[in-house]
């Protein structure tokens, strides 16, 4: 069967858009992804001229794609970019991604910081997981990584933190929060989020409308160096169950991820307005001074439990 690119007519197609049925060649596919991200940035007002954007750069496909596309704004002197990579201390896994992140930052001439959990908190993820009493790797990883990224944003003078969350991540979070009845967390999703605490930098998700598969295809089509590997601590989680559920639905209903996102965006403000009537107080952690709703923030609570505070 002979297929032609729906944009330029080339006979060498590399993908078929599930929603439109249109085939695309390599160049038109790359162009379509970059245009879609830029359109989303403009639609959601994710960037302002003069922003200094901190990219959370793991060296995986999502963050490398994010850096690559945001760099087009930097090349046009619209924004400046800096980057941070978090080394959780996972043997035979993390170093490869860190090396790739260093290479990309060097290639683009971007200020880049690598922060190790061991240096920051005195304990690595491998050491935490070596204990019998732990809460699960993803719990620590998420809390410690957020803390490091927030602090680094202030240190590097960032006005925005950009993360590589894609359409799959976002739709999984929406459905998970619905299913768990976690309406407070549900209102905290979105393309641009700002915490009531001034210390926290605005977070943006420019890849929010791009599927994870298209991001994988983009880095391979563009021959970008990325770290494709599974975290050794990856476990059968609720997120993975929800991911399988949505992907199964997508096989029969190709636009389901977009409709989940669109539906959520429509109701988000209404849910937020109703919840914001409640008073959300923030104070500073008595141990580290970071914003928290309790006396001790989650990070300090974990460090206390682990005996490394």
């Amino acid at each position: 069967m002979m297929c032609e690119c729906g944009k330029c007519g080339s006979g060498y197609v590399i993908t078929k858009n599930k929603q439109s049925g249109i085939y695309l060649c390599r160049d038109c596919f790359i162009d379509s992804i970059e245009k879609k991200v830029i359109k989303n940035i403009k639609k959601e007002n994710l960037l302002e001229k003069g922003d200094n954007v901190l990219v959370a750069l793991s060296g995986g496909k999502d963050s490398v794609t994010l850096l690559e596309i945001l760099n087009s704004f930097r090349e046009r002197n619209i924004i400046d970019i800096c980057a941070v990579s978090v080394d959780e201390g996972i043997a035979n896994y993390r170093q490869s991604g860190i090396n790739i992140a260093i290479n990309h930052a060097k290639r683009l001439g971007i200020e880049h910081k690598v922060v190790c959990l061991k240096d920051e908190y005195g304990v690595s993820l491998d050491e935490i997981m070596g204990n019998n009493n732990h809460r699960g790797s993803c719990t620590y990883c998420g809390v410690f990584r957020r803390d490091i990224i927030n602090k680094t944003a202030r240190e590097m003078g960032a006005t925005k933190i950009a993360t590589g969350h894609n359409l799959d991540d976002e739709t999984q979070s929406i459905i998970m929060n619905y299913l768990e009845g976690n309406i407070d967390n549900l209102t905290k999703l979105g393309a641009k989020t700002q915490s009531p605490a001034d210390k926290f930098t605005v977070k943006i998700k420019p890849l929010r409308e791009i599927t994870e598969h298209d991001i994988g295809l983009y880095v391979i089509a563009k021959q970008l160096e990325v770290h494709f590997d599974s975290c050794p601590y990856a476990q059968q989680s609720f997120r993975m169950e929800v991911s399988q559920l949505i992907n199964n639905l997508e096989n029969k209903h190709p636009t389901i991820k977009y409709s989940i996102l669109r539906g959520y965006d429509k109701v988000k403000n209404a849910i937020g307005d109703s919840l914001n009537k409640k008073f959300h107080s923030h104070t500073n952690c008595i141990k580290c001074g970071e914003p928290t709703a309790n006396k001790l923030c989650r990070k300090c609570t974990f460090l206390k439990e682990l005996g490394v505070d």
Partner: protein, 67 residues
């Protein structure tokens, strides 16, 4: 009629089971989801509808992992 399959640590020769055998059918035979895989045929990125012919080399790249 054979082709070479490269996927993770697999590098093996396989028989083409029938005429007009596609990468999509290969993914189904291997129990792999096209949502997690990018396919190359003789070194070039291709769509899953592409047919596999004698002496072709098919490389499957897993782009999505859990966790």
């Amino acid at each position: 009629m054979n082709f070479i399959l490269k996927f993770k640590d697999i590098d093996e020769q396989r028989e083409i089971p029938h005429e007009n055998y596609t990468i999509d059918e290969l993914l189904k035979d291997l129990n792999l989801s096209s949502q997690n895989i990018v396919s190359k045929l003789n070194g070039e990125l291709v769509i899953e509808e592409s047919e596999i012919h004698n002496n072709d080399e098919v490389q499957l790249i897993q782009i999505i992992y859990g966790g």
